[in-house]
């Protein structure tokens, strides 16, 4: 009886854990597939760094839209790497075993993509990296994305002009180990250096999150007082947090600029709370990645790198982005 109890307890643990893992990994299904047509289709496997990421969700929308439009040509399967490099490697190996015609990867860590690249190229499977650039692209591998540093430059050029070339600016950075965060900030700094009157007075991480962006801004307002003229944020969500802090402190004189042009960001732009944002075309990147993968798998000539441009969004051109 006692043994039975012990056994059933062990079973219980396994069930609970696996339930936990199942739901955890696969909210919208750890795996999803798009494409309903019959006959021989190009099989594409997609490993996404993290399903939790709002931006990557919109990118997946772009991929799915492409898959549905070309349903008679492609079959796409999505898996979630959950920001785990080792898991992503396993997923790519699974795709290779399944003999996919092309593999699309949003890499968890761009500095550790070599094993993925060599695994795919050895089997002569076309490989497309999206959004995060591994920079080493041997034959049969491709990259689709936007040049992060451009977003930073666009932000600071806009702010410098709006401030008349003079003023103190604080920068809200994303996660400090993220390439986008580092490059966007670098773009900010590059332009700021060109103006004598523009000074970046502090750079702090808001971890891409609204709440953290708000708290950093609250502290900045107390520290710099009226001297602070603008906040450049690595993404819209942190910018929205900054706006919350500004509203609370009744400071309407401070300019805030974000990146992404998320629906929340655009709404804040319309009400005048957000001064401007920079549009990174998530769905465009996703759709283009699928197109590159499909063409490469069919043996058509494709450019090694495809750049999806960033664009500055202000009240004047907001209608183009809704």
């Amino acid at each position: 009886m006692k043994r039975l109890f012990k056994k059933s307890m062990g079973l219980m643990v396994v069930i609970i854990l696996s339930l936990g893992l199942l739901t955890g990994c696969g909210p919208r299904g750890n795996e999803e597939a798009v494409g309903t047509g019959k006959g021989e289709r190009i099989k594409i496997g997609v490993s996404i760094a993290n399903f939790d990421d709002t931006f990557l969700t919109y990118m997946m929308d772009g991929m799915k839209a492409y898959g549905e439009k070309h349903g008679d040509e492609v079959h796409i399967e999505f898996v979630d790497a959950k920001e785990d490099m080792a898991k992503q490697m396993d997923q790519v190996e699974n795709f290779i075993v399944q003999q996919k015609d092309a593999i699309v990867v949003v890499p968890v860590d761009t500095s550790a993509t070599d094993p993925i690249t060599s695994a795919a190229t050895q089997e002569d499977i076309k490989l497309v990296y999206v959004n995060r650039n591994p920079s080493k692209l041997p034959d049969g591998t491709y990259y689709v994305g936007s040049e992060e540093i451009v977003a930073g430059r666009l932000q600071m050029e806009f702010l410098a002009e709006a401030l008349g070339g003079k003023g103190k600016i604080a920068v809200l950075m994303g996660k400090l180990d993220n390439e986008g965060a580092l490059k966007r900030t670098k773009g900010n700094e590059e332009i700021a250096e060109k103006f004598d009157g523009i000074e970046i007075v502090d750079k702090q991480t808001g971890l891409w999150q609204r709440n953290e962006g708000m708290m950093k801004t609250e502290d900045w307002l107390n520290r710099f007082g009226d001297d602070l003229k603008a906040i450049a944020s690595n993404n819209d969500d942190m910018a929205l947090g900054a706006i919350q802090a500004l509203k609370d402190a009744k400071r309407q004189d401070i300019l805030v600029i974000g990146v992404d042009a998320t629906p929340d960001g655009l709404a804040a732009l319309e009400t005048g709370d957000l001064t401007a944002t920079v549009f990174q075309d998530a769905a465009g990147q996703g759709g283009m990645a699928m197109e590159v993968a499909l063409k490469a798998a069919k043996g058509e000539a494709v450019e090694k790198e495809t750049w999806i441009p960033f664009r500055l969004v202000t009240l004047e051109n907001i209608e183009d982005f809704k």
């Binding site: 339930l19 709440n211 950093k216 502290d219 929205l240 629906p263």
Partner: protein, 326 residues
Amino acid sequence: MNVAATKRMIGKYGIYFVFVIMVIAMSFASPVFLSARNLLNVVRQVSVIGLISLGVTLVIISKGIDLSSGSVLAVAAVVAASLGQSGDWHAKMFPELPQLPVIFPLLAALTIGLICGAINGTLIAKTGIPAFIATLGMMVSARGLALLYTDGRPVSSLTESYRYIGQGYILGIPVPVIIYLFMVFVTWVLLNHTKFGKSIYAIGGNIHAAEVSGVNVKRNLIKIYAYAGLLAGLAGMVLSARVNTGQPGMGVAYELDAIAATTIGGTSHSGGIGTIGGAFVGALILGVLNNGLNLLGVSAYWQQIIKGSIIVGAVVIDMRKNAKKN
């Protein structure tokens, strides 16, 4: 007062002294630190983690652990937010839903927290699996649930009465601070002046002795975790109201901050020892630390290193005090 008595005082109230010293040091280092606005800022910034850490304190006193708080916060936040979206928002989750009074999202957040916590407690009490495992399962599942519910998208633009919970003021004091202080009081009463509170200490001190002396261990465990879940749900409501959005990625790793606050506040992981006053000061120390490092303009990389060191340092001081006592 003689030397021995002074030492005893410092021993007993060690963590409070650490806090006072930090405040004094900061007020010299930064002229704006002691301004009323900044101080209110600090307390408001810690109110979310602080709410969670109150529940976590009860859990840790009972010699358990709760790793699910951050994820439970997220589920509560997204569900509450979906019931509290303002009518004119273009991407409403339930377009047909009329604009509801704030009591509905609030009750939803509290209920979800309570249920998640009760599931944790029931698993631990009825199956005997370690709290670490049960709450780890909940941490992973609840995060998944939040993603499933929102399809990974933010639930934004909340009604004015909803936002008031996070952004409003009563007599110049931010509402989150009032909620936090109120719950500090409620939890203090619960722990020090009820049979439930005594049972928590008894279970943490020696679970078998507690059982023998007539404490209903199972029922109390369920209640402890349910209360911790309730507070995580409330924290989710406050946080979403504060930032005008419910997002499935909210509160990642908050459980660790809450555990850190509780631990800094002198709650022992070997069970049976801990106070609500300590948890309160622990949360404030974390808040002053964050705020102070920002005011001083310490680089983002260094901030993390310093924070980690101070958390460990504070606990080392506290451990020495407990070791001496034994």
